[in-house]
């Protein structure tokens, strides 16, 4: 009897499987595992945090941008689109985007350096882990410390001037932060110093995911290091370079920390975000400041969208 029932069961199972009626995922769960809702429970925590600390504030900001609130008053007076009209009728508020160009240009220097170091260190270089650490380290230092270091570096008779003097280049000494013609360059270089490590790590990760046989094959074919970079590395990390490019644009539109802590936006170094913060917390026009923030958000979204249209994402195929 036992044998017969086994055959029947087997037959039944076979038929079902052939009919494909019960795919693996639809099977009844055993114990507590595999319940449909489980992924959502795990998702709930980050989602709640995201909603509470990102989306709710943004919605609030939209609401503030329609009021003339000063950041404290019990009543928030609704003024419709007045704040937006005010922003667009004041061209001086947009002039600061010109400062962003410095950071945009700097981001190319930053990507080039990062790519260079990532490539060099992806080959077996002596002390490569040490160099990786050194290059990434600036990204870990907190912003206030960086401000202290670099204000000291740039001040008259500070580190930079001393180094120049050491090489007899006293005539190059100048007010690195005080001279309005070059202070944005000084600040943008500081920004490169700080964020290059992040780009570097992104590139290095992408480069290391390239299978090793490709290099071997290339070497057998007699490809030089540069040719390896040109025909293997560069094409395979294209998506990461594209991503860095988008981040560079939106990042340079929204530069904040470095100029804010080093010069407070004085002396022609103010960026759009610094101006927004000043508007909201110095001039106490939270409504107008929020409108400016919304406008910046829209600009960044539009720029990113255009950029995605112009440079569409492509799948990389190395084989």
């Amino acid at each position: 009897m036992a044998g017969v029932s086994d055959v029947v069961r087997a037959e039944a199972a076979g038929t079902r499987n052939e009919a494909g009626l019960l795919p693996a995922t639809a099977r009844k769960p055993r114990g507590g595992w595999g319940w449909r809702g489980t992924p959502y429970v795990f998702l709930a925590v980050p989602l709640v945090l995201l909603v509470v600390f990102t989306y709710l504030p943004v919605v609030n900001m939209f609401w503030y941008s329609l009021t003339s609130w000063d950041g404290l008053d019990k009543t928030k007076e609704f003024v419709g689109l007045d704040n937006y009209v005010a922003v667009f009728t004041r061209p001086e508020l947009f002039r600061v985007f010109y400062v962003s160009l410095y950071y945009f240009a700097a981001s190319f220097v930053q990507m080039a350096l990062a790519l260079y170091f990532a490539t060099v260190l992806s080959f077996s270089t002596r002390f490569r882990n040490l160099f990786k650490g050194i290059l990434f380290f600036p990204y870990l230092i907190n912003g206030v410390a960086i401000a202290l270091i670099f204000v000291f570096f740039f001040k008259p008779d500070g580190t930079l001037d001393s180094i120049l003097a050491l090489f007899g280049a006293e005539n190059l000494q100048q007010q690195w932060l005080g001279n309005p013609d070059i202070n944005n360059i000084s600040l943008a270089s500081t920004s490169v110093w700080r964020y290059m490590g992040l780009n570097f790590v992104l590139f290095l990760g992408a480069i290391q995911s390239i299978p090793g046989q490709l290099y071997e094959a290339a070497e057998l074919d007699g490809a030089s290091r540069f040719q390896q970079f040109r025909y293997i590395i560069a094409p395979s990390i294209k998506p990461i370079i594209g991503l860095s490019f988008i981040l560079a644009i939106s990042g340079s539109l929204a530069v904040f920390e470095i100029p804010f802590i080093m010069t407070g936006g004085a002396n022609g170094t103010a960026t759009f975000v610094i101006q927004t913060v000043d508007m909201a917390f110095e001039s106490l026009k939270v409504g107008l400041g929020s409108a400016m923030a919304v406008i910046l958000l829209v600009i960044v979204l539009v720029v990113t969208w255009v950029q995605r249209k112009v440079v569409p994402e492509e799948k990389v195929n190395l084989t």
Partner: protein
């Protein structure tokens, strides 16, 4: 006028962001706060303070101990905030901003009743206290200052004497000449340090408004004027002096790299000749001089170089005013703390400031002013119904008389970094001010 809190202005925004998170975390300052049956204060009391330095060195714990000798049933706790102005303003959007706190400078008088408990009629409180009018609204006082400040210029007496300047300058021109003499005597010395980078020290220049015309009503009249930067006005004279000293190279080489903490020891060591700062700074500078081994006597205090009928004038007013949170559930203990702090704690004397008490003693730090016969000038509060007018015009016009930006712009132009002329700036300020007045409807 709120100097102690401004040091870490850099962190303003980071701090604001974290405060939003923090307010959610630290709820409930004193829930079990009831008075005893006989009305003696008891329960928990949370005091917000801007003096994080005094919190760290234990001075506040001593205050709490001495307070407990008188009111043993009250448990006092302190919370220090480095960016006091920014953080507390944000926190005031909740109900949780301590039981006792200093009135944030950017709260306009018509907002006082929404946030603070009235402490009594101004007239009545004035029997005992002074400098109340600044934080009063419709006849009620909402805060009592912990100490009174006056305004002037701290200077290194040795540097000035060595340069041959022994008489206090009585006009802006004489002041410029004195600074020139200092520079001629030793080109390494910075005759006047602006502390441009930290920003807030530049706002100290604003403290001199009213002194130039010796007009206690100056600020109220400014709210009625469409051109406050016209020859002869206080702002014209003050800002012109700033322009001249910068323009003639009598300030630091690169103002964008100044450093407040460092400036104290530079002044003490004679590397800096002078700095425009409120009287609250004298004690800190003397301390720096003692630390440097040059002795507290090195630090002197001058009034603004301007006289009316042969007399110097110096503005006086309250520093931070202590107030009670309207939502506090321990107002009795809060009031006891404020009264005790102002009468018994000795805070004002310890900080070398003018006592908030009417009958308070003149501090040792201001003996220079006494010797010169400087007249103290207290600004008249705005008339009823116009209490917030000045503040409203000030922010609506975006002139921001108490923001660093306004004077940083003058410094930049004067040193030739922005290409603007003095007249262009004054004209622009005038037109902004007039537009602000029109918008506010003053």
């Amino acid at each position: 006028m709120f100097p102690h809190a401004r040091r870490t202005r850099l962190l303003a925004v980071a701090a604001i962001a974290s405060t939003v998170a923090l307010t959610a975390a630290c709820s409930g300052g004193g829930e079990s706060a009831e008075t005893n049956e006989d009305g003696t204060p008891s329960g928990d009391l949370l005091v917000l303070t801007w003096r994080t330095d005094l919190l760290e060195d234990g001075t506040f714990d001593e205050y709490a101990e001495r307070f407990n000798e008188e009111y043993p049933d009250v448990t006092v706790e302190f919370e220090g905030l480095t960016d006091y102005e920014g953080e507390v303003r944000t926190r005031m959007n909740t109900e949780d901003y301590g039981d006792v706190l200093g009135v944030v400078g950017t709260v306009t008088p018509d907002q006082f009743p929404d946030f603070f408990e009235p402490l009594g009629d101004v007239e009545e409180l004035e029997q005992e206290y002074r400098f109340l009018r600044d934080k009063a609204f419709e006849g009620k006082a909402y805060g009592i200052p912990v100490v009174g400040n006056t305004q002037g210029i701290v200077y290194n007496t040795t540097v000035w004497e060595e340069a041959g300047v022994t008489e206090p300058p009585t006009t802006p021109a004489e002041f410029v000449d004195a600074l020139k003499a200092i520079k001629a005597n030793d080109p390494e010395v910075v005759p006047l340090y602006t502390n441009y980078k930290d920003g807030w020290p530049l706002t100290q220049w604003e403290g001199h408004r009213g002194e130039i015309t010796a007009n206690p009503n100056y600020v109220n009249e400014m709210a009625q004027s469409d051109a406050p930067w016209t020859e002869g006005t206080d702002h014209y004279v003050i800002d012109s002096l700033l322009w001249d000293v910068v323009n003639q190279g009598l300030t630091e080489k690169d103002p964008t790299t100044t450093n407040w903490e460092e400036s104290k020891s530079l002044l003490a060591n004679g590397k800096i000749g002078s700095m425009v700062l409120g009287s609250w700074a004298i004690q800190q500078m003397q301390q720096a001089a003692e630390d440097a081994g040059t002795g507290a006597d090195t630090i002197g205090y001058l009034p603004f170089p301007h006289q009316v009928d042969g007399k110097f004038y110096a503005q006086v007013g309250g520093d931070y005013n202590l107030a009670i949170n309207k939502n506090s559930d321990n107002k009795v203990a809060a009031r006891a703390w404020i009264d005790w702090f102002n009468t018994e704690s000795g805070y004002a004397e310890a900080n070398g400031g003018l006592s908030p008490l009417k009958e308070g003693p003149t501090p040792e730090t201001l003996k220079d002013f006494e010797a010169l016969g400087v007249e103290y000038l207290e600004l008249t509060p705005a008339p009823a119904g116009k209490e917030s007018l000045f503040a409203d015009i000030d922010s609506e016009s975006e002139v921001g008389t108490n923001t660093p930006d306004y004077r940083q712009r003058i410094v930049d132009a004067a040193r030739g970094a922005s290409g603007e002329t003095k007249d262009e700036i004054f004209e622009d300020l005038n037109s902004k001010w007039a537009a602000g007045r029109a918008a506010v409807g003053g």
